[in-house]
Symmetry: D2
Subunit: 312 residues, 4 copies
């Protein structure tokens, strides 16, 4: 279990997001509020986009804790971006702390992060890997369930060179979970998986808050939308001052104490952010996903989201 944040909006200084909020991700690296274990000290990673320089994201990751990493601190005071993924890791038992296991994972234009655990992943790992085409199979560099789920997502998405819509990305995300669940069922795995995934191509973002067993509470996930994110005099917030600008932050925990501005994403819902920053939140219906090995995919209709969720 880990903590993460996604940012899409006008270019901001990374430090304003990573260090300055009262409950910043750096704070969450040693003092997370909404996990039973407050520590996320098993390495970290950030990925950001500078589309004027390079369409692929820039990833910086390390096995040392985020709170003491001086390179991270310095980069954060010198880099601005309009699309940031950042993750602090609490390694699942038995999984190695290594750069290869640090999120976000990258592939081409895509970044991927995970907060949670794919239950008994070693029991479906072979099937997952066997399903992958060579270029994705051989690209896997670490041992996490998270990176393997990313490879599955990329496979389900299809041509990763093509520009996909936020809907397509969101649907592939839901299918990824559907496929993981089908394999888990086939393997007789009964325990629940927690899959708060987030993915972006630098333009669109999709994120899910998911747990296999609907009687359980998934890991926390929030979103906040507004005009522009600003830190002034030590207070960071999304203000609505700028009608011409839109911003969305998706985060495992509320970064700031203005609770009314943070909306809890409902369990088993998928959130998408389009390139124009239009946000959509809808329930996932993984039970209705039918996955055919011949490559045809059929996704059940995504039902309209709860009113409370839509307002995010």
């Amino acid at each position: 279990m880990c903590r993460f944040i996604c940012y899409r909006g006008p270019e901001i200084l990374l430090a304003d997001l990573l260090y300055r909020p009262a409950n910043s991700l750096i704070r969450q690296s040693f003092d997370a509020k909404e996990r039973s274990e407050p520590l996320n000290g098993d390495g970290f990673g950030i990925g950001w986009y500078t589309p004027q320089i390079n369409l692929t994201p820039c990833v910086f990751a390390s096995v040392t804790p985020a709170w003491s990493n001086q390179n991270l601190r310095r980069l954060s005071e010198h880099v601005k971006s309009g699309c940031l993924f950042a993750h602090v890791r609490a390694a699942s038992p038995g999984l190695r702390v290594s750069e290869a296991n640090c999120h976000p994972f990258e592939y081409g234009r895509f970044l991927w992060m995970h907060n949670g655990v794919v239950r008994d992943f070693s029991r479906i790992k072979r099937r997952l890997r066997a399903s992958l085409p060579d270029h994705l199979y051989n690209n896997i560099g670490g041992t996490t369930d998270s990176e393997h789920a990313f490879a599955l997502f990329l496979h389900l998405l299809g041509d990763t060179e093509r520009i996909c819509s936020a809907d397509e990305i969101g649907q592939a995300l839901v299918e990824t979970i559907g496929q993981l669940e089908r394999w888990a069922a086939e393997a007789g795995i009964s325990g629940p998986s927690y899959c708060n995934f987030a993915v972006t191509d630098g333009q669109s973002v999709a994120a899910v808050r998911y747990v296999s067993d609907p009687t359980l509470k998934p890991a926390s996930l929030y979103c906040s939308t507004g005009g522009k994110y600003e830190c002034r005099h030590g207070v960071c917030k999304l203000c609505d001052c700028c009608a011409s600008e839109k911003t969305i932050i998706i985060a495992s925990e509320r970064l700031t104490s203005d609770e009314k501005n943070w909306i809890r994403i409902p369990p088993n819902h998928v959130l998408t952010v389009a390139p124009d920053l239009t946000v959509n939140v809808e329930p996932m219906d993984v039970s209705r996903i039918d996955f055919h090995r011949d490559g045809q995919k059929q996704v059940g209709p995504i039902e309209s989201a709860a009113a409370s969720a839509r307002s995010c």
Copy 2:
């Protein structure tokens, strides 16, 4: 503020001390019980003696957290020693996380650790360094108050090649604090210093539990003595079974839940362990130490320790 342990006794497997106790030092690296901040994740170090191979200690240190370090885990399952120092660090604000700043510090046959902070150290750092002979001045590799205090200790001890008695080591430890306090007074530093220091030459051990202001509570420090330390069926304890063997453990926190076997070292007391493992606990009287710049040292009589402390 950090956490540490010292072990002197029959050779034991390091893992039995570092990993197996319910409140092991590895546990304390992320979940310390007797600090307001439970985290000691800014690197770690261990130092142990194998006198049949080398009279100097072997130090293994890293900037990664102790809980996830695989080299530490493997070494701990393969190394035995009769004298171990181990330390998990919570870096003081502004001090770098680096191997050069990891405790224990070594010099010749000596190891040194610190849990605490020398208040406003930067204001006495120049005076301290200026007082050092070249070989100690040039040996300093990091930036901590702790390592500088070690250099001062070595200077006050005199010839570090000579075998010193536990008493001599203990007295030099008290003098070190006395000198730090005098410089602090001269610099007009009013805030309190916390100086739980531990030092060994592989044979003798000395440790202090100290805070400048007697109205304040020093950082926690315990000791436990017995025949032999053993871990059986997941329970670790010092048993009194072996009349022929003696063991002493000094630790920032009780490692095990058998509280009656752990004695809290009284504030501003110094504990010494002689090569024959005789333990002595006595009050420090730093106010009576008189330090002359010309090299003459005059130490006030160390008074007899409180009965409760002696029983450790």
Copy 3:
């Protein structure tokens, strides 16, 4: 391509082997003599046995270069062992420098190292992985051809809990290469593989010097045998003084300048060291190995080694 050494004999101080010889492995980490590229700076690892403490080996590895690693230097001056594997890595292009990719690899009582490259490994990786039982499949932590070859070796060896003879280990080593070659042939891979593998269970050792194409020169590999290895006044050598003791060193390069004491292992030969330190060198005949997918293995007769080789 990398450099490695294996030591079996009376307990010695690791530094005497790793640091003191004129052409020590540490020297080879930045100035290897028998590779076109002298640098092996992509991390390192050592594994040693302390059978009185633990039957499994102790592995210490790091991604930093061996020449500057202070933990390695200190450990080497404080640890003695009668069975050591040590490796300095030059990462193959495209393979990550990470601890998970550092040799030696361990599994139970076994250690494994590789100097060379399995040609176009990504084209046979899926087949190799698919052939593995779950416990070996899921144990793979890195991405190297070397670690995968080790998993294949363990699978071919069978029950890894059982004590195997040096012959059995040597045969499994040859079968491993045979299987890799068969898969390479099936995949249409034409380029040569270089497979200087070494493996030990702490008692027996087996090593091969191998290249697929007999018209090419395999990577260098030497052995030296004698009574006892000693470093005196800066000169290290295997002396014949001690009739009661035997020692064997296997190394990618001669450690010392007494060239007559180092025998070049002939191309495509396998060397085995039995627990009583009896050494045997024999030609491999991989072409005669017949591997049946149903688990039956049939190994052709190993022919008598060349006289020059036997004398090692």
Copy 4:
């Protein structure tokens, strides 16, 4: 002894400078051409300016070798700057490989790098430190001669908040060497110091090629000037195509094979680059520098540079 480069000119992608030239700095990290020892694998650092975001430079440094650092590779493909310092380190014997010892060193708006060695530095270290004001004394985080020389430079420069001219920076650089030499003379140090220093505030740059003993050859240092630096089809060069743009590269070794475009900086000359990219090369006359302890400084006239140098 190390290798470094400085870039001032139009914004360029860092990878074009660090990775793409035939003899790039990354290449020099393992295969330097103009040092007897080709290896500079003891960590690295880069510092660059993004004045539209932050007036201080962004430093990224690591103890791992530059050639295998994935964070460096990724950053280099995503960051552009008009002022870059980059350094690959070959640690002097006895000096620790640590992030605190990686160049470039930073202070406020300044960056500082060194290729060389201040002879017997430990014999003048105390005097140097004693001469520093507290804010510089306490800012030193490592143990290198290089970082201490930087502190001395900053002290001699005076108010580091003020914008200095390139001349002032160059003069302070020469004074720094003058002061080091005077202390060396007073300490009876006879061996030569090698001081190729480079310093920038993001606008101006100054660099020296210096050895104490004029009968010896200082470490190599080159400069190249032109319109715009470009990498096309694998060939990098400074072209003169763009009359409106100026670029200067200062480097320990020629990055490209167009030798005529690289000018060797004459021994004991100082090169300055003004904010408008005007370049000046002049001989240093350290013998004429008179340093008064009361803070008054008197610098002898800098003589006109050799014609060959001026053309750089």
